[in-house]
């Protein structure tokens, strides 16, 4: 069925539904109705109640003396209802006015379709076909976007979880989709299957950094350190370890690391010019890439900015971290990063207040308090 045809069918269906509903709802207006009288039903009920009193008496729930008065009461109601029923019957014999019914019918036939159509078209998408998952996933590969390919590889890996190549294809796609924690997970699986190599460990470390909004977490450091152990010239690992040094307030160590990396790099390494620029900036004493961007693109963007803009961006990131910690103060690693970042940026007041907040959040936890204190002293 072509989509044009399905559009036509859809509108025919809408029209049929509307016509059917109008016909069903208006049908009673076309016929003369016999009306049952409300109070006639009361009469039936009270008669049943009288019988119930008798049952209550024989069962012993009601004393005979009470039953006499109860009977009297129900009988009184019964008579009243009977009276009402009679007068109602007279009333209902009066002929009713047909013009009202015609008005109602006409109004319904005009307003119901118009109103429904108007409200439906305001938000409906009659041209959009259904897109069930199975049909989409089975479409030819060339027509699928990256996220669909990811889903397909995921499905294949579910069937065959030891497919090393699958994981190695999947992980960079995750990074591309900015699904960093998934990327880290995929690299871990690849490492579990194919063993540790410098490249995989560095990629894992990078994914971990990106997943933590650009902060080099202890887990990431571990992965990166392992990568460097396997291959000291692994550039990605060295780069992120440099960032870790800066996070710790250890700018000189980072410089040494990166300079050595540049010196030993092959001439045509694509990343060399960028890193050289980074080193130059760091040496000139400009603001440092603490708490780098939430993703690689942002880090790169920061590199292309003016010093002022970069400062603003970094402060924005630190600010976001601070807000997050105010909402969720139980994040020790976060506090440590924040305090160090304030120290590196030279904001001693903020550093002090962050330290105070962190101390408050971890009162009673001596181990954490010692770490907080240590973090507060690094920049001085």
């Amino acid at each position: 069925m072509t989509s044009e045809w399905s559009g036509v069918i859809l509108w025919i269906l809408f029209a049929a539904m509307t016509a059917f509903v109008i016909a069903a709802v208006l049908r009673p207006l076309a016929r003369t109705q016999k009306r049952s009288i409300g109070h006639e039903k009361d009469v039936a009920l009270y008669k049943d109640q009288l019988a119930e009193i008798e049952r209550d008496v024989t069962r012993g729930v009601m004393a005979e003396a009470d039953a006499v008065s109860a009977r009297l009461e129900v009988s009184r109601r019964l008579l009243a209802a009977d009276d009402m029923a009679r007068s109602e019957r007279k009333e209902s014999e009066a002929p009713s006015n047909g013009s009202w019914r015609k008005g109602v019918a006409l109004a319904t036939m005009i307003l119901l379709p118009l109103g429904t159509l108007g409200l439906y078209l305001a938000e409906g998408s009659p041209d959009l076909p259904d897109q069930p998952f199975q049909a989409r996933i089975n479409a030819p590969t060339s027509q699928l976007p990256v996220e669909a390919l990811v889903v397909r590889v995921e499905q294949q890996l579910k069937q065959n979880p030891d497919d090393l190549r699958g994981w190695e294809v999947l992980a960079p796609s995750y990074v591309q989709l900015r699904r960093y924690p998934d990327a880290a997970m995929a690299w871990s699986r690849a490492i579990a299957i194919g063993g540790e190599t410098a490249g995989r460990m560095a990629a894992l470390g990078e994914a971990q950094v990106l997943a933590a909004n650009g902060i080099v977490t202890p887990a990431a450091r571990k992965s990166l350190a392992r990568a460097v152990e396997l291959d000291p010239a692994e550039p990605r690992a060295q780069y992120y370890l440099g960032l870790a040094d800066i996070e710790d307030g250890n700018r000189d160590k980072a410089l040494t690391r990166w300079k050595k990396l540049i010196a030993e790099a092959p001439k045509d390494a694509g990343w060399k010019p960028g890193l050289e620029a980074e080193v130059a900036r760091l040496e000139s004493g400009a603001a440092m890439p603490v708490a780098p961007g939430p993703n690689a693109a942002d880090v790169q963007a920061a590199g292309e900015m003016s010093a002022d803009d970069r400062q603003a961006m970094i402060e924005g990131m630190v600010g976001r971290l601070a807000t997050r910690l105010d909402e969720n103060p139980n994040d020790l690693a976060g506090w440590l990063r924040l305090i160090r970042a304030y120290g590196v940026l030279g904001k001693t007041d903020e550093a002090a207040s962050a330290t105070a907040k962190a101390v408050k959040a971890f009162t009673g936890n001596d181990d954490a308090l010692a770490q907080i204190e240590a973090a507060g002293q690094v920049p001085q």
Binding site: Q33, G38, T58, M62, S96, T108, Q134
Partner: protein, 661 residues
């Protein structure tokens, strides 16, 4: 295409609801039978259309059609089938569609089975019912449309909150909604009666089955919700006085009061005005409950302000229906004829006292639930009202009520002899006392209130039995005759007794659970053991297990009693990668007298796992009792007296009128 058909059907349903709201009411006011008759097909059509919309939404969830925005946000292609289904109402928009679907279902039921109602009353009832439908359909279409589409559609959905991926929670909203919405019937009947200016014994008889149906659904819904909280929140509590729970408890309390006061209206033509007021309040609390849970007011008043369109709409609906209902009441209630008088000591007097206590209990819950929200809204300090508040208010109010429960059914109408009624309950009181002593004998080290609580529970259960025994004249006439009587006893009497006994069983469960639970929290390495009461738990192994859409860390715990192997229990920690959330799955082993409840906690980094284990005495009774109460409701609902009123039927009954039961 199917999604669009659902969308169109929902819009069309709004049109039909508008017709159903206006035309039958006009007909009733003008005594035009044809216009009144429009109510029936309109109610049926409205239900059919909403059913089409609901089915279309269900289809979108089942086929993971992520071009429907709601599906993309709340589902995922790997989710197991039942959570694709329950995902339909696991979100704001879908739950509102379920809400109106049930609302329309009740309307359709009145249209189909309301033959015993006078035409004018039925027309007005369906009209008021349709006005609720109009409000909610407008709310859905204007602020929470479930059929909005995405183009281009994302390839994968975002998944469903793992807490909701659970059979107990998946299927309790439909019950809860059936209860909430069922109370709209009581509201519609009350408004119709007020508009008509006619409220009598027959009205009570007509409104009661609908209230009863709603009450049954609400009872089951609350029981399921509490059961879910028990096994899923990981520490075995069963009731948290959480606002979401309170939101369902309040309409339940008022519905219970309404059930009892409707008996007085029906039998004695008294308490009419009060009963109408209860009907209005019951539905008002349902509305508040629905919106408290669904609007985000509970998480924070500020979340409410994030989406002002929705918030203002909700406030509007609340004001129109609660204000409108109460306004109508203030305007018309004085015109209602006052019914017969009665002595304070009588069945109706006892029912009135029951109503007053229930209303007071509801007020206590209401204050405890809404006062913190109110303070927050006016910028006051953030406070939380926890169990201590409810223990000091709700419990003292309900205790005298519970003491009275067995007495009520023993009193006769109009004027009662308390002494005679008390004598009939001597046996029950004696048995309850003995039960208390036995409990004291076994648990003399426990809290001193526990035996008293168990005594009260036993009093409720035995009291319910005594009522039946008294009615059957058990032990006073030959057993065979008694059994013969049992068959002819009105089902409502059986139902009432069952519900009261169920209440006693719930109470026993609550007492057992709060007074005697044993709790052990420890860290175990694999191979190590701990002791919970007389049970020895050994953590044999901890491993990974792959679920359909989660990875579970599963502990294998060996259970031994008196050195004898009993079973393996498998507490789990499930990690849902799509939703990036973790969920604890407690292992529970029950023998219906007590539960053994084991939770696997975190690894402490030194090879040991935190294990929390509980022995919860009588815990299953809480839910068994709830089910018994609901079952009592079902029995009572099947009582033939709800089917009389139709002249034909009544005539037949008189013909076969059997001499007594």
């Amino acid at each position: 295409m199917i999604a669009e058909i659902g969308h169109f059907a929902l819009v069309l349903a709004l049109g039909v609801a508008l017709i159903q709201m206006v035309v039958p009411m006009m007909g009733a006011q003008r005594h035009d039978a044809a216009m009144m008759a429009v109510a029936r097909p309109a109610a049926l059509m409205q239900f059919a259309l909403i059913l089409v919309a609901f089915t279309a939404l269900l289809w979108a969830f089942l086929t993971s059609d992520f071009s429907v925005s709601l599906v993309a946000e709340n589902s995922h292609s790997t989710k197991p089938l039942i959570y694709k289904i329950s995902g339909v109402w696991g979100n704001h928009e879908g739950s509102m569609v379920l809400w109106v679907a049930i609302l329309a279902l009740y309307g359709a039921l009145v249209a189909l089975f309301g033959n015993n109602l006078p035409d004018a009353l039925r027309a007005r009832v369906l009209s008021v019912q349709a006005s609720v439908g109009v409000a909610f359909l407008l709310f859905i279409l204007l602020t929470s449309n479930p059929f909005l589409r995405l183009d281009p559609a994302p390839f994968e959905g975002r998944g469903l909150n793992p807490l909701l991926q659970d059979p107990g929670l998946a299927f309790h909203p439909p019950f809860l909604y059936a209860g909430y919405v069922g109370l709209s019937m009581a509201f519609s009947f009350a408004c119709a009666a007020l508009i008509e200016g006619r409220l009598d014994a027959s009205w009570a008889r007509w409104v009661r089955p609908w209230t009863l149906a709603a009450w049954i659904a609400l009872t089951l819904g609350i029981a399921m919700g509490s059961w879910w909280a028990y096994y899923t929140l990981g520490w075995g509590g069963f009731w948290f006085w959480d606002p979401v729970e309170n939101a369902s408890l309040m309409p339940w309390i008022i519905a219970t009061a309404l059930l009892h006061s409707a008996i007085v209206v029906e039998k004695r033509d008294a308490l009419k005005s009060w009963t109408v007021l209860l009907a209005i309040f019951a539905f008002s609390l349902s509305l508040i409950g629905t919106f408290l849970v669904r609007s985000g007011v509970l998480t924070s008043v500020h979340a409410f302000a994030v989406d002002p369109a929705r918030g203002v709409f909700i406030l509007g609906i609340l004001v129109i229906f609660i204000g409108g209902g109460l306004g109508l009441y203030a305007y018309r209630a004085p015109a209602l004829k006052a019914g017969g008088l009665f002595a304070p000591i009588s069945r109706e007097g006892a029912l009135l006292l029951n109503n007053l206590l229930l209303a007071a209990a509801c007020v206590a819950v209401f204050i405890g639930t809404l006062y913190p929200l109110f303070l927050d809204a006016i910028g006051g300090p953030k406070i939380t009202v926890g169990p201590p508040f409810f223990n000091l208010t709700f419990v003292p109010i309900t205790l005298p009520l519970l003491c009275m429960v067995p007495l009520g059914p023993m009193l006769s109408w109009k004027r009662a002899d308390v002494l005679a009624a008390a004598q009939r309950l001597m046996a029950a009181a004696g048995l309850a006392f003995v039960a208390g002593l036995i409990v004291l004998g076994f648990w003399h080290k426990g809290p001193w209130l526990a035996p008293l609580g168990m005594m009260l529970a036993a009093w409720l259960v035995f009291g319910a039995f005594s009522e039946i025994a008294y009615r059957l004249r058990l032990f006073r006439i030959p057993l065979r005759e008694s059994l013969g009587k049992a068959w002819h006893l009105p089902r409502a009497a059986w139902g009432g007794a069952l519900a009261h006994a169920g209440l006693g069983i719930v109470l026993a469960g609550i007492v057992g659970m709060t007074a005697w639970r044993i709790e052990v929290v420890t860290a175990l390495k694999t191979g190590e053991s701990t002791q919970v009461g007389d049970t020895v738990l050994t953590l044999e192994k901890v491993g990974l297990r792959e679920g359909p859409n989660y990875e579970a860390t599963t502990g294998i715990v060996k259970v031994e009693q008196d050195g004898r192997f009993v079973a393996y229990m498998l507490p789990e920690k499930r990690n849902f990668p799509v939703e990036k959330q973790e969920k604890n799955e407690a292992a529970i082993r029950t023998n219906f007298m007590s539960d053994l409840y084991v939770v696997l906690g975190e690894n402490n980094g030194q090879g040991a796992w935190t294990i929390r284990a509980y022995r919860n005495y009588l815990a299953p009774w809480i839910w068994i009792g709830g089910v018994i109460m609901a079952f009592g409701g079902v029995i009572s609902l099947s009582d033939r007296r709800y089917r009389v009123g139709a002249p034909l039927r009544a005539r037949k009954l008189r013909l076969n009128a059997q001499p007594a039961e």
